[in-house]
Symmetry: C2
Subunit: 387 residues, 2 copies
């Protein structure tokens, strides 16, 4: 086990009707906030209006900035920064999923920074402070509601990049599983793949003696495997929705990182695909992760065999750990296919023509991943496997 | 799943050499602290002197109060409160195990309170503020390093009682598994039983649809079952010690309580035994928990069968869930016996003569437990089963 420092102070307010607390929670954070949101779904459901009403009742003044799209854009972030500065807003309330939260975080670190906010995403600067952020979560997927990271897409050059710092964890996250019942099945499935990928990025480590966190990872994965099909079969199954929503936070609040070094190459590769093709992040991960697993398997077959047996109840084949491991990958693919996710890049409309470009961009600042360091040729091979 | 609010901001500094951070961490908390500790073990190992040196180097002034004993005493708490007030100390640094931390918490809530600190333990008052507390943990067991609770024994009437409030979570906890390598085997085993009991108190719930937290609980229990025998067989096994130490925190930081209502009757019954006989808390729990399980089993046989299969790899007996459940209890007893813990009250020197008194004291403020509400006759029956 590696030495670690772990602290996650995000206050989680979870359950039926949790959004009623938004006035109280926000007022405890600030009196003037940016109300940041995405498209029409939160508006259509009435959630957005309820938030506005509760803020007003709690005496919180707010400016509104909607229009965040999946793979949130840097241009809107810049707009948000200008808005916060102009109106001297003290905090941000993000109502939405990971894209809205990530956009809010970018605004939050951009406001007190004198340079260009994109510096944080190119590693030219590290965030030291952020406007306080509160969240009303509508999509269980990114885990951004209590994570220390943010992913933003720069339209110039179509770069999708991440920034991370401990100051970037939200102050509070309000999570009502009822809100997620109206998510379209494909979005539920994409969110599930994102959640599972967050766990798997941590699971596949070269650090030895990580017993507790291995088992905690497996617990989250098994919970997803059981509950996602239930939520898809019966979209208003509160219990299944609640399990998925809480799993999404636990998957990415860094408890599962304690004492281990995660890989994250799959996320980096997906960022290249998502930056160019604007595919759903979870769908991209579902396609790339099994390809990555197949490519790196031989570096620690036993770990992949453990994944197969403990997560997917594969019987261990004592004649061949590799056969066991491969069966695990097969079951993972089958699970994701079964919940409606694509199995190949081509199913997502991603052709072969820009694979070289993606492999180059992914590795232009050096090799990717920690389980195995991947060069440009590796990334190319993984994208070919995923075709 | 039940609605919940979860927040745990304790900063964990974990690993080999973590104690070197004590000066920096304490200085960030306060400049004048009470250095609170127990008996001779931390002194003998050199840890205590290292802490004093690092505090001095960091410019932290401190007053010392040692002498905390297992089942920490109210009289020493009162002494600590007086000392803090006299020297206007701003925070407390606890160097030790659960008893030292719990004593520190009692002092910490007592100092700003105008009434008698025992009020918090008799539910006459609820703690609203606490002097900040830092921890250098030496024994993985109580989980007090990031929990919201404290247990103290009032020598007058030999009452062992608990207090709890969100403000009672320590600011930071420094945890070096190396420090735990010199624990005597019996103390390692008692700590293990305490950790496992913290999980099991949460596991046995009547709340339905608690899939994720069930699995997280099972992850912690399985980690203990694997690593405790390894640590006993090879006391300087760093990895095993590290797993146990981190499991002890995760077991009791309330992540495993999210969405569920724990039982806690076993802890309440043990407090009566510990209050009178001064037995090791973990040993008391190891004796009482299987008796409690046997007594309440019929209220939800399937939950006990799930425990048996998922935690102890019992094969589910489809002809009889009860048989499956009983086999789980048998394996739990066998595990605890195998690591050197007593199986009966009499092995701990607890006779039958004061069972009536313990059952009466345990229930004098009403029935105990949430899985099943236990009256005086139930507690009596459980203590008889444990004889």
């Amino acid at each position: 086990m590696e030495n670690f420092v772990f602290q996650n102070a995000t206050r989680i307010v979870f359950g039926k009707g949790a959004e009623e607390a938004v006035g109280r929670e926000t007022a405890a954070m600030a009196k003037r906030v940016l109300l940041h949101s995405g498209g029409k779904s939160a508006r259509a459901s009435g959630l957005y209006d309820l938030v506005r009403t509760r803020l007003a009742e709690a005496g919180v003044a707010f400016e509104e900035l909607g229009g965040v799209v999946p793979n949130p854009r840097l241009s809107l972030v810049r707009e948000g920064i200008a808005l916060c500065r102009k109106h001297r807003l003290e905090a941000i309330l993000a109502v939405g999923g990971g894209s809205v939260i990530d956009s809010a975080k970018a605004i939050g670190i951009g406001v007190p920074y004198t340079g260009d906010v994109w510096d944080f995403y190119t590693r030219k600067a590290e965030a030291k402070e952020m406007l306080p952020i509160g969240v009303v979560l509508t999509i269980p997927a990114a885990g951004s509601e209590s994570s220390n990271g943010s992913v933003v897409t720069n339209e110039q050059g179509r770069y999708k990049r991440d920034a991370g710092a401990e100051c970037m964890r939200p102050r509070f996250a309000i999570m009502d599983p009822v809100v997620t019942m109206t998510l379209p099945p494909y979005q539920t499935a994409c969110g599930a793949a994102d959640i599972m990928a967050h766990v798997m990025e941590r699971y596949f480590t070269r650090v030895k003696a990580v017993d507790l966190t291995d088992r905690l990872c497996e617990a989250v994965l098994r919970t997803m495997i059981r509950n996602v099909p239930m939520a898809l079969a019966k979209p208003d199954d509160y219990d299944a929705r609640a399990e998925i929503m809480w799993a999404g936070t636990v998957a990415h609040n860094d408890l599962l990182s304690t004492g281990r070094i995660g890989d994250w190459a799959t996320h980096m590769i997906e960022h290249e695909v998502g930056g160019i093709y604007d595919v759903a992040h979870g769908a991209g991960l579902a396609v790339i992760f099994p390809a990555w697993m197949t490519h790196v398997l031989r570096h620690d077959v036993e770990r992949f065999a453990q994944f197969a047996t403990r997560v997917f109840d594969t019987e261990h084949d004592y004649a061949s750990s590799e056969r066991t491991a491969l069966e695990g990958i097969r079951r993972l693919r089958a699970f994701w296919k079964g919940i409606g996710l694509p199995g190949t890049l081509s199913e997502m409309g991603v052709g072969a023509d820009r694979i070289d470009e993606m492999a180059r961009k992914c590795t232009e600042s050096g090799p990717r991943g920690n389980f195995v360091k991947l060069g440009q040729a590796d990334v190319r091979a993984i994208l070919e496997l995923a075709r």
